[in-house]
Homo-oligomer: 617 residues x 2
């Protein structure tokens, strides 16, 4: 199948139209000069892990932030790069395809050629397998023609990606050396960017000249931290899913006889489910993070849905739409514990048929209680990130089944007097992943591609390309790079906040912030969503007219400008330095000392591990 990569293909009218779309560049990336300003050295987000992380990444931990500046910016200590030697760069798609991925290639290719037409971009064919086997395709303008602004990863393909074992890391090292790469760009989510950090460290240790750069491309939207506001693909996925959810809402309201249980992709975290809820206003959403925080059991969740069904029945409403993130199943404490037991046994090599007899008594009791189809799905071998095969576990069917049983029980008991409860289940996963990317994702990915070049031109290793201020127009975007090690923690994704467990240093998926504004918006409207059927239909993804330029609600309501605030703080510090110069009065100096002493005390206390209760960020 390799011979098919990069071949031109027949495009539909809309695809052709989109292939002609040219994203803008923010002012800081225009022109042929690269100007970098370095910030302070970065630290681990969670101080508790700093020591472990710094030991794990001796060469790449603690590097400074980098900001790319416009040619005219007057920053005295900015590094200006005007010479651009020929550069050879490799790019690999890792992990699940996410709409917009192709534009990273396009952006990087354009930037390489602008700065030196002799530079070369090699795409690795078939994901990390292609990297190990050194199967490459040289990217050209011609090849890109039918892939610009298009969905999928089919220009290069991808595999079940992981660059982790010694064998894999060595194969990558050999490939980069033999292909004489100056840079290796890894496009992917949390797992792939963790691999990128590891690879950068190994390369530095081995004195391999190839610099490793990560790009945050994942439809799950869970590669979020103080440096990364949003991931490429998330906007498109939420738009396509919201369209479908809204269609189902309209359907529910027209037919008035079904409850639709819709499971959404997004892995462990519930970002997709939250965004789609804010877009479409379905009756209910059950976020994994809420379930984990409140330690809700399967029985609690069932009861919660049944009570909602009953409340609606009292208003003579027998239809509804309920969203469930695919990660929900792992957030339910007792199911998670059961899954852990099953996975443990599977890893020990116990045969699937023998598992149920080897479970602990309570796990066995839960397992036997579950309907057969779910049993079979829970017995699947876990994924490379240790989670269950979330896309294969039909949580929506399980809950619909449990709710039906409970509603029948209530009917029999006489506590529910409404019509029979009818459910229809859906899983919205694969049908959104290959979508044509939204304008926002096209722009975001294209600019990130350019930033990759600037990172490499600055000679940085182990950095991720970042853009801040994304909710504003492209000309306001702030482009930079952050050391991936600054995003690494040693905390695993905790089932219950507070109950932390420590693991390998890695970028762990950021969960929905239950203190954040997006979640607050959901809570404020939850009752109206539940009872008033204020369904909203954003409609199909548009490329022209209303809605074409919209961005995720969860991006727009959050005040995420961390990098901006870091800069703001530096301005304050500089001002103090100017005011309290040698020659200032004793009184001023005294006042300054006193205040600075308390500030440092307060911040020190706040920065110690014990008071840091948040699981991420």
């Amino acid at each position: 199948m390799d011979s098919d990569y990069g071949i031109p293909r027949e495009l539909s009218d809309l695809q052709k139209f989109r292939s002609l779309y040219q994203p803008d560049l923010p002012p800081c990336l225009q022109g042929t000069t690269v100007r970098v300003e370095y910030g302070d050295a970065t630290a681990a987000a969670d101080p508790a892990g700093a020591h472990t992380i710094s030991r794990h990444f001796p060469h790449t931990y603690g590097q400074p932030l980098a900001h790319f500046l416009r040619a005219t910016a007057k920053v005295p200590d900015a590094k200006i790069i005007t010479e651009h030697p020929v550069m050879r760069v490799g790019l690999v798609f890792c992990g699940r395809q996410s709409p917009g991925g192709h534009n990273v290639i396009w952006g990087l290719h354009t930037a390489l050629k602008i700065h030196n037409p002799k530079s070369v971009l090699l795409g690795f064919l078939g994901g990390s397998e292609g990297l190990f086997a050194q199967k490459t395709l040289e990217i050209t303008d011609e090849i890109l023609t039918t892939y610009k602004n298009q969905g999928g990863y089919d220009l290069l393909g991808r595999t079940k990606d992981q660059i982790r074992t010694t064998e894999q890391v060595n194969a990558a090292l050999t490939a980069c050396k033999e292909l004489k790469l100056d840079g290796l760009v890894i496009v992917g989510g949390v797992t792939s960017n963790t691999d990128a950090a590891q690879l950068a460290e190994t390369f530095a240790e081995a004195k391999c000249p190839t610099k490793v750069v990560g790009v945050p491309v994942t439809l799950n939207g869970d590669l979020k931290n103080q440096f990364v506001e949003m991931n490429v693909g998330f906007d498109t996925i939420c738009k396509v899913n919201s369209q479908l959810i809204s269609n189902v809402c309209t359907d529910a309201l027209s037919a008035e006889k079904y409850y639709y249980f819709i499971r959404l992709m997004g892995r462990k975290a519930s970002h997709v489910a939250l965004e789609c809820t804010l877009q479409s206003h379905p009756n209910m959403v059950i976020l994994g993070e809420e379930v984990a925080a409140s330690k809700l059991t399967l029985f609690d969740i069932t009861k919660q849905i049944c009570d909602a069904v009953q409340a609606r029945a009292e208003q003579d409403k027998y239809h509804g739409v309920i969203l469930l993130p695919e990660g929900l199943i792992e957030s339910i404490p007792e199911v998670y514990a059961l899954l852990k037991e099953i996975h443990g046994l599977l890893r020990q090599g116990v045969h699937v048929d023998q598992i149920s007899s080897q479970l602990s008594p309570w796990a066995s009791a839960l397992f036997e209680f579950l309907p057969p189809f779910i049993k079979k799905q829970l017995l699947l071998f876990p994924e490379s990130d240790d989670s269950a095969q979330l896309s294969q576990i039909e949580t929506e069917k399980l809950l619909a089944h449990l709710v039906e049983v409970e509603m029948n029980r209530r009917t029999k008991e006489g506590t529910y007097k409404g019509k029979k409860f009818n459910a229809i289940c859906h899983f919205f996963g694969y049908q959104a992943r290959g979508s044509l990317p939204s304008k926002f994702d096209c722009d975001y990915a294209y600019v990130l591609g350019h930033i990759c070049y600037h990172i490499l031109a600055a000679g940085l290793n182990g950095y991720m390309a970042t853009i801040n201020n994304l909710k504003n127009p492209v000309n306001k975007w702030r482009c930079g790079a952050a050391p991936i090690t600054a995003m690494v923690t040693v905390k695993r994704w905790a089932q219950n906040p507070g109950a932390t467990s420590f693991g390998m240093p890695a970028i762990y998926p950021a969960t929905v912030d239950l203190q954040g504004r997006a979640y607050e918006l959901l809570r404020q409207n939850a009752t109206r969503f539940l009872l008033d059927d204020i369904y909203r239909n954003p409609g199909p993804l548009q490329y022209d007219g209303p809605g074409a330029d919209s961005k995720p609600i969860s991006l727009c309501v959050e005040d995420q400008d961390y990098m901006g605030r870091i800069k703001e703080l530096q301005v304050y510090l500089d001002k103090i330095r100017t005011i309290v110069k040698p020659g200032c009065s004793q009184e001023v100096l005294k006042a300054a000392l006193s205040i600075m002493s308390s500030v440092t005390d307060v911040l020190s206390v706040m920065s110690t591990p014990s008071s840091n209760g948040q699981s991420n960020i």
Copy 2:
């Protein structure tokens, strides 16, 4: 829930934009004069049933076609209606919601008010149940504001619709009398329009002044005949599904490890599956009509798919997309026979648990061979049109399962040496049905709404609103009305062409014409689709720019202008009359007689029942 009907609601930006869209009217419907030209009396499409049908519909059979003409058209015997008394019209949504339905209301309301501002349009709330119970909502401009060009049937709602039993028909009659309706407009598919024909006949018999009008609105696209080219909703459904299928194709090509089995809505006929195939170019589609025509067994179909998987594996391709219409399961002869036995037993009141023991030996053998989930689904009570609950039977999972078993067998046997076969199953049904309608469906439904008024103004009863020449721009559309009885046949949908069975006079779903151009186009490309992965992505439904004005391929490739050709024939006949006038030469007269005699002979032979091999049309 009734109090919620017709309430204004919050629209998204795109919905607002769409609510401001104003469809054009074809020239023949502009102005305030209604001009009707009547054609010849219509006959039943299938002469074999003519006698039965005429006996069944003594008052409404054999009425002429009606054509609505532009004000300036010079047709000598056109009936011109210039007076427009106040009219009271009721409208009811019957059957499954189909995108565009709301625009029928809008078009009819506008036409009523243009011709007499005092006329009243009543919408029945909650489908036929609302009709029987006389629950109405008076349609106003204000109410329509947030429903123009919007999806769903939620302005009025609908129920499990049927107007068939004596009790139901009498309730409808009483409602029309008590509400003093001049007209009753029934919006729906084959079943609802059959009910409309029956109601028109009953009303005529009972001397009820209410005229009944049918409107072809069904996403299945199976209300097709010489008068009806296309149904409202079909274009939207195919666009939304094609978008998703294309996304899955892109996904398949990116991941290269799964076969996606996608089942599509559309009831017994495979129109949706065919159109989506022509739009998206998936690797394979299995049409119910092909299976029925070739009498393929479950084993044959499995083998066909396995051979395809194997052929692709030889090209190192381990991914693919296979479409299945939901009606496929009933097209498989042995499954159909099994379903018939099950339905017979269910109707006799046999309990579900007892069915398998009461099946005939061969049916029992097949039943026991099937996996448990399918058994459960086959045991569901049949629908009102006697078909199985097609939306609930997971044919895609059955076939994926059978293919997997067979591929594993081939692997074990050594005849297949490729990688393991992996399937992912999808059902694309409810997520498209509530979509915002395409521009085409908005236009089509709006104009049909206007035609309903013209039909009522002309005092016609038992007619369906029709538009011909749909593949051309709106200003070329030909508007008319055809007696519904001319679409009625006594043939049931035959499992095998030739094997006809006779039933009640009804409009039966038109199946995909295996001699038609759309199917020919599919056959011509089938091998390239299968092996070359020439996936095409029409993208999300657009309202602006490329693709926004596209129409179904199966509409555009067919040469369907039956009404146009009827007119063309009349022109020929008139010409002959002009040439062979008294006074013409003996030779001319002789030649004319000789030719006309053979023509009538040939046509007589072709029109006798025995030689009519087609199942529909």
